[in-house]
Structure formats: structure tokens, C-alpha cells
Amino acid sequence: MSSVAVSALEPGIAPDRSPGKKVSSKTGMKSLNRLVRQPILLITVLSVFVLLFIFVVLPMFNVIKIAFSDENGFTWDYLIKGLSKPVYQRTFLRSIILGVIVAFTSTAVGYLFAFATTRTEMKGKKFFNIMATLPIISPPFVVSLSIIFLFGRQGLITRGLLGIKDANVYGLPGLVVVQTMSFFPVAYMTLRGILMSLDDSVEDAAFSMGASRGRIFRTVTLPLTMPGIISALLLVFIQSMEDFSNPAVIGGGFSTLSVDAYRIINGMNDMNMGCMLAIMLLAPTVCAYLLQKYWMRKKSFVTVSGKPTQARRKLHEKHIVYPLFAGCCFFTGVIILLYGTVLMGAFVQTWGVNYVLTLKHFSYVLTLGAGVIKNSVILAAVAAPIGGFLGMVIAYLTVRQRFPGRRLMEIASMLMFAIPGIVSCIGYVATFNTKPLLLTGTAVILVATFTFRNIPVAIESGTSTLLQIDTSIDEAATISGAGTWYSFRTITLPMLRNAFLSGLTYSFVRAMTAVSAVILLISPHWNLATTKVFALFEASQFSDAAAYVVIMIVIILAAMGIINLLVNLLLKPRAKAPSAEAVEAALQAQGSSK
């Protein structure tokens, strides 16, 4: 009966463990062969590579090429200039100093909010959470604008309340405040994630051994959240370094790399030096990005132990909660003040002189600026789904498929995250102003820049979602007969719904609010709202700028609602099954056909 051929197997004799000489893990089906067998997959992989090459790798390569060449070819001149000329040295140093200061202040504020909302039993935690994430979706210039409104020459506080005649808000202190209020949400989000995944039973364990709350914080909580803190510091540092809009309008004499690179190219027409400054900016941000990746990889020693079995009583001692609460209230108050000021600034006649309410700024914006707002919305609306979808595709390819160059695709697609907007902008200018890639002045170049600058976030959220989904779900689809595309469409994409939604929203918001990445790419035909606001700043038309910003906030909020609605409507799972009649009819049809 037994038809099993037992090979190489005499009982008690150790079987020969070495297979035939030709056999190795390389023989059999190779990943390349597998790819060739699935033409759709192959085409997708190749097109993604081509797109990433043209829109990510090539621009960066050109920045480096231009920085190291002049009419006669290769040269070190610009590097030497950049490193030795005091003006560039000072700019470089200032950028770094600003980045470091803001990294620490933002992380401190972010930690306060993150700790208060995750670790204590405080009232209003949800409210604080919303307030601390709000600045992420806000257009640029908001904080700068209200700081000028409040503390500028015509400032409500400086002039109106304190009577100071020539208050100077421009420079390092103003920048630190503005950037801290703009970027602490980045630190907050990072730290909140870390603090939430921290199992509070370790703190309880320390408490039960007699440690005081302060001691627990110093010896347990703080060390365990250290990777998060360092990660937050680095992320904010990158944000501060690459920030263009705030230093451009409120830096005054305090020059930073991103602004100087722009001014050198735009004002002095010196592309080579501009590229060199871009590289001087790129180097620290890329280093910080790589360091951050390294730190987050080590975060695994955070005690993640799934869901706690029971809700624990969190910190509730008054002497701890009250100061934290006061701190949160203070910063929330500042945020409300900042946004309120802008809102008010958009409605008053002349700030600092005449506070009579008026709609004239809005009518100004809507008559003269309707076109640019429309441009911004259209381009963002085109770029967001492309970016969201491409992000899901790349996440799927890099997580779920095996093909040569997979790691390369992963790196290239995430690269843009570490590249400051002005650097990618310069790269695009350098790459797309000659044939065959002549795109300057078109809408395509703007859509491309939005798409590729914003996919990293879509990819990141898609990847983390996919990593949580058991591979066997994909395998179940495959074994049921589904090909790669069918399985992606029916299984992967619907399950990536939330990741797709956040990718879509993020892409839209970022496209609406981008400044530095597009500042050199706009053309008279395709001007954008953000660059228009920048121009109004230069002309000191602050109230008109405020009206723009208010309209943009309204559009962003409306768009978020619409995207949410659309994705829910289109992709929300519904429990489907045929009706009893349909089943009956089908059974009859089958019966008669047999």
C-alpha cells in the first residue's frame, strides 16, 4: 500500500546532507524569472524605476554636477568658495545654529504635549492633541504673519500695548519662536507614538518598588523614550534647516542656506554657487535623516507588549498634572492667538492703524488672486491622487514583491524626504530646462514636484500598513487564482484604504502649502497661491497675505473632508451577498444548463 519512496534513508544511518553539487539557493526559480513571467508586474517595476530616475535621481545628480563644474568642466572652485568665504561660512553656521536651537525647543514643547496627553489623567487631552497637530496642516507664513502682526513695527503688542516705536521682530529670536511653533508638532507626533507604545507596567513596577514619580521619569520613562527624543530632534533639525518661508520673511539680516541659495540663483543668476549652497544644505539634512533612520531602527527596545490587559490609572498627582496642564494651556493659547491674529488681520482695514472690519482684502484676493488659488487647487488635486496611488504601488512592490533592485527602489523613493525643498527645486530647474526633458513653465513640472516630494509619506504609511497585514492574505488571493494586478486591486488596495487616505490628504496639503520646492518653477502662466503670498510679504501687504492664508486654510479643511468622504464612499467595505432571489435564479439557470 505504501507507495512512499524513502530516500537516502536507512534507519540509523545519518542521511547524506549534501545535495548534488549543482543545487544551491540560486537554482530553481529566480526572482528575475518570476518577474518576467508577470508582464504587468515587470512593466510596473520598470516604470517606477524610470520615474524615480527622472524625477528624483537625475535632479540631484544635476545639482552636484553643476556645483562642481564651470564652462571649462570639472572644478573645485565653488566648493572652496563655499567653505572659505566668510559670507557663506556665516550662513552655514547660522543655519546649523538655528536648526539646533529649534530642534531642542520644539522637542521640549513636543515632549510636554506628548507626555501630558499620553501619560497623565488630564482634562482636555483630546483638545490638546488636536491643537498640537493643527500646525502641520496649516499653510506656511501663518506664524510669521501673526508674529509680524503682534510684534512687528505696527505690532499689536509691541506698538499697541507697549508703545515701542521700532520693534524689530526680524532675526534669530523671532525665527526661533516662529519655527518652534511651526515644527513642534513634528516632535509631538514622533514622541506621542513612542510614549503610547511604552508599556506603562514598567513604570508601575518602578513605582511599586518605592521610586518617586520624579525618579521614575528620570530613570525609566526618559531613558526608554530616548530614541524618540533623538529622532524628534533630528526630524525638527531637518525641518528647520530646509525651512524657506519663515527665514525668508522673518529672518531679516539672519541669512540661512535655503534662502541664500534661492537669492543667489534668482537675484544673482549664479546657478553654480546656488547649487553649491544647496549641497551645503543637503549634506547636514541627509546626515540627520540617516541618523534618524538608524535611531528609529533601534527603537525596538521600547517595551511594546501589545494592548494592555486593563486600563491603568495614569499620573494623577496634582503637583505633576497642574504644571503640565498649565504648560499645555500656555502653548495652546499661543497657537490660538497666532491663528486668531491672522484671521483678524485678514478682516481689518490697515493693521496697526485702522482696525475697522472690512472684506476688502478678500475681494482683492478673489478678484486678483482667484487664478492662482485655482491653480494651486487644481495642481494639488491632480498630484495628490497620483502621489497617493504611486505611493501605495511602491509600498506594495517593496514590501510584497521580490525583484532585483528592490532596495534601490526603496531608497530612491524615500530620498526626497531628506532633500530640502529648495534643493529639489534647484535640481528640477537644472534638469528640466533643456530638451528632451523641457518641462519648465508647464504644469507637469509642478505636478511632478508635488508628487515626488510627497510620496515618501504615502509610502511610509502604506509600508507600515502592509507590514501589519499577514502575507498569507496575499497568498490566499494568489492561490485562489488571482494574478498580481487582480490581487493588488481587490485585496491590497482596499486594505490600504487608511494609508491611502492619509497619503492623499498629506499630498494635497503639502502641495497646497509648498513654497521652496516650487519657488523657482512657477511661471506667469502657472503661478501658485503660496508664491503669491510670498510676493505680498515682500511688498509688505500683510493683510492681503492674511486673506490668502485664511482662504487656503478653508480650502485645505474642505479638501480634507471631501477626500475623507470620497475614499469612504468608494472604498469602504460593504458586506455584499446576493439576494435570495438571485441565488434561486442562479440555481435554476445552473440546473437547466446541466
Binding site: R17, P19, E475, G481, M495, V583
Partner: protein
């Protein structure tokens, strides 16, 4: 082929009971095995690169296996023995480094998993969380672009067969573990697969439900008659559901046979120890006496006659190993057998397990029904008498005693 005839006979005899249960609405259960076919693995080897990328490990080493049409074969072994890799090669998710796989008479080396016409039940069930139960079950039919009526009719048939038709509008997370298990099975069966693969499908269920689902699964497989390959590390599960058990260790196929065969005639100390418990006593082979073997246990001054030693041949004077089960030993205070001392007694309710130290070995002995049989205490001097009919002779390769 006489084997196919017998299988066909089995199928026809098994269907009436099934049709009588689900008569009328469902139609013939034979439909489900219409595509069923045998599976043949020829010299299958799988080599993986080590995680460090420095070398290679052999996950499956030159395995040959022939699964007949309609048969349920279990791949059993400790974790890391290569059983799952073997299954995944049949499914097509892994490609063998060497060797051939035939489904029916077709070499499937160049057939991707979605074209193999096979189905798989996953350890985690892998139900599509965003689809209703109906959509989950119909998925395989819809990928095949079948006409709508056929999809509806066939899905309906399986939903009723599995007794989950009333849940068809629910999502997987709204079902219990056992119901999810049935959905997973329904989704696999509905495509009328050539082979049904099971990757430890019951390991996520609690003990009681696991036993029930095990019996349900077995009876279903017998009624439908679809060729099945079943991977598990649970030897009781393997014994309970299999036509044939294949035991693997370190990538090698160690022994294959019916559950009785494997339990009663293990060919190695590994198998004897892995399936159930076993005692091993080192001995010297004296001579053959017809079918029986005569051995001498060092230290015990007797020659033992073993009537059914098994198939392994020994030279005279060679070292060998007596293997016997804990239930094959009788304990008494005086009388026959090896003298020894009780060093541990564990009460389990249905039996008492004793550990008895003899001059040469430490024996595990089970005495059933302790309420009526004699009890011994730690320290008692006893005699352990073997039931010689149940003793086998194996190569002495120092089994690992846990």
C-alpha cells in the same frame, strides 16, 4: 492502476451518506473532487541562503513522496523540519532548488501558484477582512471570470455545505474562530481544487474546538474526496485525521506510513519518541530465531526473545536498542521483569505515570485506571515486565530523552 480503482470505490461509498444529509438543495458532493488529482514529489530539494547571507541551509533534502488521488497525507515533524517548506513548494510559493513536482501528470515547475488549480487553508485563515463571507468564498470563482449564475450557485452550495450560509453578509471579524475556520475551508473547497493544502489550520483554536474541527475536517475531506496535504506539528492531530503520516526531521523524510504503522513499527528512535512516548533500552543482538530476535541486555542476566522486532537487520553481536511504549510495561511488587525502584509517580486521573530506575535504564511506565489497579509509591521496589510482542528493535543512536 489498481489504486485509483480502490480510491474511486471509496469515493462512491462515501458519497451516499453525505448526499443523504444534504440532499436536494446541494447536489452531488462528488463535484468537489472532479478536479482532484494525485501529487508526486520527485527528489525535491530546497536550499535557502542563511539569514546572514553567508551560507546556505538545506530546508528540504531530496524528498520523494507520492500522494494518491483522494488521499489525506500529513507532513509531521518538529518546527524547522521542512514540512511547511515542502507544502509551500507544492503551492508554488516556493520553487524547489532541485527536483520535480507533479500535480496529476503535469510538471508544475513553470506554473505560478495562481494557475495551479490548488487551494490552501492557512494557519491564520487569511480571510479577506474587508470582504463579506460571501465575497470571501466567491473570490476564487470570480477571479476565474465565471458567469455570474455559476458563481452564485457554486458559492451557495459550499456555504450550505459548510453550514455558514446564514453568515454570508457578515465580515470575518464578526465570526467565531470555528466559523472563520469553516469560511477558510469553504473558500478553498469552492474552486474544486486539484489538491487541498492545509498549513497547520487548527493551531489557532483552543483545545476543545480544535478536536471538534479536526473531526469535522476529516469527515468533510472523506466525503468530498479531494486529495489533501496537511502540515502539522501535533502528532495526535496527525494520527486522528490522516490516511498516511509522513514524518520529517531536519529536511529529511524519516518515515511514512499509516498511523498504525508509524506508532507500532517506528523505524527509528526519533519516530518512536516523536509519536507518543517511548522507552529505550540498549542491548546486544544475539541471533535471529525465525521472525523473532534474541537479544541480551547488558547487566541483566537474561536473553530476551522478541517475537516481532521490526524490519531492521542486525549483525550478531551488534549493539541495538529495545523500544517499547510506557503502556507496554506491567509493574508488580514481585515477579517477572527487570527489578527497579520507583523514583517518581505522577497521577493523571486516567492513569499513573511512574518512572522506574532499573540497573541499566530509566523507564517511563503508564498504569491505566489507577482506581482499580495497584498503586506504588516513590521508593518502592518493583519489577517491570515488558509485553514482548510490543517491543521493537531499533538502531541504537542514543535518543534524546527529555
Amino acid at each position: 492502476m489498481t489504486t485509483t480503482d480502490t480510491i474511486a470505490a471509496v469515493k462512491t461509498t462515501s458519497t451516499p451518506s453525505a448526499t443523504s444529509k444534504t440532499a436536494g438543495t446541494v447536489g452531488s458532493l462528488k463535484d468537489f473532487s472532479s478536479q482532484s488529482s494525485g501529487v508526486r514529489l520527485v527528489d525535491i530539494t530546497k536550499v535557502f541562503p542563511t539569514p546572514e547571507g553567508t551560507g546556505e541551509t538545506i530546508a528540504v533534502n531530496n524528498v520523494n513522496l507520492d500522494v494518491e488521488d483522494g488521499e489525506l497525507v500529513t507532513l509531521l515533524g518538529p518546527s524547522g523540519c521542512g514540512k511547511t517548506t515542502t507544502l509551500r513548494m507544492v503551492s508554488g510559493f516556493e520553487y524547489p532548488s532541485a527536483g520535480h513536482i507533479y500535480i496529476g501528470n503535469r510538471d508544475v515547475a513553470n506554473v505560478p501558484p495562481n494557475k495551479r488549480g490548488i487551494a490552501m487553508v492557512f494557519q491564520s485563515y487569511a480571510l479577506f477582512p474587508h470582504m463579506s463571507i460571501w465575497e470571501n468564498v466567491a473570490y476564487g470563482l470570480r477571479t476565474r471570470k465565471l458567469p455570474k449564475e455559476e458563481v452564485i450557485a457554486r458559492t451557495d452550495k459550499v456555504l450550505k455545505l459548510m453550514d455558514i450560509a446564514q453568515y454570508q453578509r457578515r465580515f470575518p471579524n464578526q465570526l467565531s474562530g470555528g466559523q472563520q475556520q469553516r469560511v477558510a475551508l469553504a473558500r478553498a473547497v469552492v474552486i474544486e481544487p486539484a489538491v487541498l493544502l492545509f498549513d497547520e489550520p487548527l493551531s489557532n483554536l483552543d483545545a476543545k474546538l480544535r478536536e471538534r474541527m479536526r473531526d469535522e475536517l476529516r469527515s468533510l475531506q472523506q466525503r468530498l474526496g479531494i486529495t489533501s496535504i496537511y502540515v502539522t506539528h501535533d502528532q495526535a492531530e496527525a494520527m486522528a485525521i490522516s490516511d498516511r503520516v509522513v514524518i520529517m526531521k531536519d529536511g529529511n523524510l524519516v518515515q511514512a506510513g499509516s498511523p498504525e504503522d508509524i506508532y507500532e513499527y517506528p523505524t527509528s528512535t526519533f519516530v518512536a519518541n516523536f509519536i507518543g512516548k517511548a522507552n529505550f533500552v540498549t542491548a546486544t543482538f544475539v541471533r535471529k530465531d525465525g521472525p523473532a530476535a534474541i537479544v541480551r541486555v547488558p547487566g541483566e542476566d537474561v536473553e530476551l526473545v522478541i517475537p516481532k522486532p521490526g524490519k531492521i537487520e542486525f549483525k550478531e553481536g551488534a549493539r541495538c536498542c529495545l523500544a517499547f511504549r510506557p503502556e507496554h510495561v506491567a509493574l508488580s511488587r514481585s515477579g517477572q521483569g527487570f527489578p527497579g525502584q520507583v523514583t517518581r509517580a505522577t497521577y493523571f486521573g486516567d492513569m499513573v505515570e511512574y518512572v522506574v530506575e532499573t540497573k541499566t535504564a530509566s523507564l517511563t511506565i503508564e498504569v491505566n485506571n489507577p482506581q482499580i489497579s495497584e498503586r506504588f509509591a516513590v521508593g518502592d521496589m518493583v519489577h517491570a515486565a515488558l509485553d514482548m510482542d510490543c517491543v521493537r528493535l531499533l538502531a541504537d543512536d542514543a535518543p534524546v530523552v527529555e
